[in-house]
């Protein structure tokens, strides 16, 4: 990200409301206050949004510094675009419970899948940490 016109710079996104997707699957929404060449980000008035099915819940998080390597995607939130029509906001406790259940079923299916693959002598590396040593 350098200051040459035509390059993918985040300088124009500063002070705007953004949604950031992290490698661990979390979604943060907040005002982008600072950037650098590694895509390290500083978020203000951050909210962690948890999605389960059609429901979502927001957890206020304050100021967040995100290390660039964990950023998957950063999107500008367009307040004019109609969005929350299909999604239903619920309380934090409820969404955390839903998430716990979702993680549980996911882990169980993953476990079965791993076992089946293991029996055949195969393994699928998780794309998440392919670049790490």
């Amino acid at each position: 990200m350098n200051y040459v016109p035509g390059t993918a710079s985040l300088i124009d996104d500063i002070d705007k409301k953004h949604l950031v997707l992290l490698r661990d699957g979390r979604t943060l929404i907040g005002f982008l206050r600072s950037i650098d060449q590694f895509a390290n980000l500083v978020f203000h008035q951050t909210v962690e949004r948890i999605h389960v099915g059609k429901k979502f819940g927001d957890i206020p998080r304050g100021i967040f510094i995100v290390r660039g390597e964990n950023v998957v995607l950063l999107g500008e939130i367009d307040i004019d675009k109609p969005c929350d029509t299909v999604l239903q906001q619920v309380s934090i406790e409820e969404i955390l419970e839903e998430q716990r259940l979702q993680q549980q079923t996911k882990q169980e299916t993953e476990k079965v899948k791993m076992q089946v693959l293991k029996d055949r002598g195969l393994s699928i590396p998780k794309a998440d940490n392919l670049d790490e040593y």
């Binding site: 699957g25 979604t27 895509a39 995607l73 999107g75 500008e76 109609p82 794309a127």
Partner: protein, 91 residues
Amino acid sequence: ITYSFIVGKDVVVELKNDLSICGTLHSVDQYLNIKLTDISVTDPEKYPHMLSVKNCFIRGSVVRYVQLPADEVDTQLLQDAARKEAMQQKQ
């Protein structure tokens, strides 16, 4: 090699987390970070939280593929340019 020739084209970016995003290529930088405008999630919308996002920045390190329309890219030119660059880097 610069990718300025595909700026403005509609592409589908497939990420390492299996998310596929369709959009118009706005810009690319030296790290192959990508900026897309007018995005939409191509796969069945398992990612509802992108509903109010029109433009996005994708970090180069998380991209698996960038799908380009075959007829909009001169593959011969691209091959020649890439070959020339490989030769230069070898020296």
